[in-house]
Symmetry: C2
Subunit: 674 residues, 2 copies
């Protein structure tokens, strides 16, 4: 019997006043005691804000990402401790893999994205500089900065580890401390994972806290700088969303709640097409993985009317293979629901669904349980229902039986299928099994707005596809309407939920100071030595060089054409070039301009600049005619450390002609020694 502890104000604290007992899903025996009595929630919020927020905001995105990565490593190192508790939740080892290793993988993925996509700074820009003045003395730039509040994470019981970690990954990278409230039914597993995080010693003081039990007056202490990220039932979400403080303070509320996800077999399928088998297997798999207790599980399976019977048989063939029992046993494919009350809930909801659909597989009285007592554990059989008139039905589109339950239904046309897909009222995910890309486009246009994720599965991606029910850290997870209207993950999109977007307006010097990047019009420093002489750490943003001029002759153009083989008529044929709407006559090749520009600005001797590794946003703006002269302004624009040996430097390059017209602009990328 475990006594679970809260982690408040950087200390492990047992709840006072006696908490609730938590039972094993498999044996029904009490295995842990929860309780948050005696916690000072106001003090916890202040501690998060004053200490945790400050600690997180004074380190950069890259440093936060390093912490997140270290937390992932710790989870992987100690995963067996978590697998040992996982079985009590009713989950098999395979189910636990999604939760535990999937959770660690999410930390790794987010940490890696943050390193690659965010600067080594505490704010980042959104979109380009907006030119809001004629002379360029006044510019604007959107930036994201960390909210100066706390993230309250209210998690669901089904993925106690992953559910906690996917939220923590983004809030930590955003620089926002979190208070985590796991669902009580599996709080012992969340507490164990949380303990691993704390025991790394890498979590800054105040950055993470844990509440095992009721949240008391926690919400009363929130403000508009805080975020609540909730995963759970629509009923609870509705209550919380209207909490007077949430409403008054416009506290951000990210909700992920009920979802009647659908899988659809395309109209192009027949019993012999690979997509048919892929569909039947996926429906059965989604019903039984984690005993169907996944927010993303398939609840509605839509098939062409003509295939209804044969699909039904194919799914049942798959379901028959499901062995049910003690999830710790190797020959068991499906364990138990999380609790007996959850089983009651599923049974009641199946009861309601029966008003519109009939059970074609898995009447619960024929349950054979391996290695466990069916009376004591929360076991149920997978249940396939069939609804023959889904357009007239209501319950099958609205009632989510959160267990191994799905309803099969026919459609008669693509329009009807889209209608049925959208009858879910907003879902986390839908899958489409088709080998016709045009069907995919049509269904997308019809149904995408009601779904947070659409996965199209066919023979071409069958081997590598990641599954209907698997949210990925790089993709948004969430859905409109019934699904709660929230979004989580999605790579750095998820980080933004914990940050404020602000439009900053000011002079170029101000934008440069705020963003750390050179902006057109901000001061440059042009004296010797050449900018290529500075090591990464020493190179100042704004360090610049303006080159001498070089005349481009007709000989140069002809020579370049014959040397490279690029004899495009605009360079070679005066009459044809003149007929072109953009050119006054023969003009220099764009790549000749680029090459001469490099010849003008490159400092050839060995030094800190190791390589030109690329170029972005090149635009040729004024053609160069024979006799024109070009010169180049090269300015250090921004820097990003790659590792301990070198870092990327982004240079702003401006090529002008003898009339000071802009010939070309681009951003040059070099790798510089640290």
């Amino acid at each position: 019997m475990l006594t679970l502890k809260n982690y408040a104000i950087d200390r492990w604290t047992e709840g006072s006043g006696g908490g609730a007992d938590i039972a094993s899903a498999v044996t029904g025996a009490a295995i842990a005691r929860s309780g948050s009595g005696g916690l000072d929630f106001g003090a916890m919020v202040r501690h998060a804000r004053d200490i945790g927020g400050r600690n997180l905001r004074r380190i950069t995105f890259h440093e936060r990402a390093a912490i997140v990565k270290a937390l992932g490593t710790a989870i992987m190192d100690r995963k067996e401790e978590l697998y040992a508790l996982n079985f009590h939740t009713g989950a098999t080892r395979k189910d636990g893999w999604i939760d535990i290793e999937g959770g660690a993988g999410t930390l790794f993925s987010m940490a890696s994205k943050a390193r690659r996509e965010l600067p080594d700074d505490v704010l980042f820009v959104d979109g380009p500089v907006e030119p809001i003045s004629k002379e360029g003395t006044f510019l604007a730039q959107h930036v994201y900065t960390s909210l100066k509040g706390v993230a309250v994470h209210i998690n669901a019981f089904n993925f106690p580890v992953w559910g906690m970690l996917e939220k923590l990954a983004v809030s930590l990278i955003a620089g926002v401390p979190a208070i985590v409230k796991p669902a009580t039914a599996t709080a012992y597993l969340a507490e164990a994972a949380f303990r691993i995080l704390i025991e790394t010693g890498k979590v800054p003081a105040g950055a993470l806290q844990l509440i095992i039990g009721a949240t008391g007056d926690l919400f009363d202490h929130l403000t508009g700088q805080d975020v609540v990220s909730f995963t759970g039932s629509a009923a609870t979400a509705s209550k919380l969303k209207c909490h007077p403080v949430i409403v008054r303070e416009s506290v951000r509320f990210i909700a992920e709640q009920d979802s009647l996800n659908a899988a659809m077999l395309g109209p192009d399928a027949n019993p012999d097409s690979p997509e048919f088998q892929l569909f039947a297997k996926e429906v059965a798999r989604e019903m039984t993985v984690k005993a169907g207790q996944k927010c993303t599980a398939i609840r509605r399976a839509l098939v062409p009317a003509a295939l209804l019977d044969v699909v039904e048989r194919a799914i049942i063939d798959q379901l028959r293979k499901t062995t049910i029992g003690d999830p710790a046993l190797e020959n068991v494919r499906m364990g138990a629901l999380v609790s007996l009350s959850q089983r009651e809930d599923v049974r009641a909801k199946v009861g309601a669904l029966k008003a519109e659909a009939r059970v074609v597989f898995g009447a619960s009285d024929d349950l054979a349980v391996i290695g466990a007592d069916a009376a004591k554990g929360a076991f149920v059989a997978p249940m396939l229902l069939r609804c023959d008139e889904p357009t007239a039905a209501k319950a099958v589109h609205e009632i989510e039986a959160f267990g191994p339950v799905a309803t099969l239904m026919p459609y008669r046309s693509l329009d009807e299928a889209v209608l049925l897909l959208n009858r879910g009222g907003g879902s986390l995910v839908m899958s489409l099994f088709t080998h016709d890309p045009e069907v995919a486009r049509d269904v997308m246009l019809g149904a995408a707005s009601a779904h947070g994720r659409v996965i199209v599965i066919d023979r071409d991606c069958a081997k590598e596809q990641t599954g209907h029910g698997s949210p990925l850290p790089v993709l948004v997870h969430g859905g409109p309407g019934r699904a709660g209207g929230g979004e989580e993950m999605g790579g750095m999109r998820g980080v933004r939920h914990y940050m404020q977007r602000t439009a900053v307006q000011g002079s170029p010097a101000v934008l440069k100071a705020v963003t750390g990047a050179h902006v057109k019009g901000s001061a440059v420093s042009s004296g010797p030595p050449h900018p290529f002489r500075y090591r990464f750490g020493e190179l100042e943003i704004g360090k610049s060089i303006e080159t001498a001029a070089r005349k481009i002759t007709l000989d140069d153009i002809e020579h370049f054409a014959h040397f490279t083989g690029d004899t495009f008529y605009a360079h070679m044929d005066e009459a044809a070039a003149k007929a072109n709407p953009f050119f006054p006559g023969r003009v220099a090749h764009g790549y000749l301009i680029l090459s001469f520009a490099a010849g003008l600005f490159v400092d050839p001797a060995p030094g800190p600049v190791l390589a030109n590794y690329g170029l972005d946003e090149l635009r040729f703006l004024t053609p160069v005619s024979p006799g024109d002269e070009i010169r180049v302004r090269l300015t250090a624009k921004s820097k990003k450390k790659r590792n301990e040996e070198y870092g990327e430097v982004r240079w702003d390059v401006l090529v002008v002609n003898q009339k000071n017209e802009t010939v070309a602009t681009y951003e040059l990328l070099t790798m510089n020694a640290i």
Copy 2:
């Protein structure tokens, strides 16, 4: 006396049952009658969804942008009709310019952004393709599609034209029909502007509807595909946000409500610095423009404690110039508040503020009104208050007197200033007057998360700066916390509020079909003729060519180096190149590779390809040593029509070596004849 009409189900409809009279702000006489009695709100919502949404979604972003532009042109063509009504709202012509021409300008700006930044399609992508499989048979891409619902726009009284148009611009471009509910106090001006829109004949059936008066059971008909965009008081917003349907259906709710915006004079200022004068003028201007009835107006003016008295005098000097009276008169600078009840509200709130601040200018009994009756019109004097202990105060940070009212307050350190800025609990905008970019960065890091917009004004941008109180269409408008937590405008960011982001997963062929763009791994068509032989309209996405190989010799490298002047050591010095961490020895110039690549793929004869106008995302991935051979795969990736004569083609370019290693990848941009 005008009888205002609703526009419901594509018909002008007078409200039944008698509506409320609306009085002129200047004379107090009734000038219009409102009323929405008898409207069938459910039918209006269904009409918007079924007819309006369908009509908008079957045209592209560019076509919708053309409509939006036409609406802007119509407003400009008929602007005098609106100016004539504008005076009744209490606004001067200058105030009306913000509302009327500012509204048209927002339509133009959004239309132009949509043309430039969105594809000529009905969906657009968000971020890059995510490589979520090893072999590349399974990819993901986030896309935005139009919500299949209706936008309900609830507008404030202060900018009846601009407030309506800035919301309509983005929802129309997003492909979502709107039902507009203007504030009653100035509904006659909104109705006149709306009539101009309808009379263009450019608005698709069902796309726009108007409610002049109460919204009845409108909200009962909303779903998760709908959006409510609300501008008004926090009290009303709180009520609407908790409407059971809004909560149950997770209807998107964008709120822009109260805001205690602040202006701050930097610690670097003194009475002789340009920023000092700029600050005093801006505070006075913001107080008096539109009689201070701007959501973005300065309510709190923060100055270094030592400058408090001298700033007070400077602002008062400015305020003394304010002539008050009939806004139609040329010598009147400030008109009236919108209504007598609004005047009562302002007076009551000033009364509450007086508990913490004293009035240092503008006691309302010394009011001289020009050309109007002070007893009948809603005139008030500008009122400057002063609060000497703002850290201890509460009301000055929380009570928004929506009129020509601001409170001056001192700060003693930068930290204290940031604290005070943030005491507003979330604002639409703050301004900072400083000539020290480091102060700007520090204040940004301290206060940006509590503000939707930060404007830094100094001598360098003084001439071109757009003003504390002016939201711009390209910048987000909105703020966290007390300001409502919503965001509007921000260029195409605003369009996204009316669309659903969906993660799409599938094979390359599926992603290509959905997004219309070539994706790595999707099928290419390689036969003759050369892809450069196709006109814009005929060129198919996926049309591709693989070139012959070309060997790059040491002679080529040396020749190129001497010809261009680029004698960087990595190309010229074997020993130095070998010492470089990236190169095996001397390597070819990146620009030599680019140039030879062009030589390999260019089809030189005159044809539909008019120009190479740029290049994006070039990365050099494998160095090319003397003796290596390169060849190129060029594939049409996406197209975007620019005008009736030509369009942009984006080509995916892959350069490989003889070992099939990727040497370089980039996107080439050409302009092709239509």
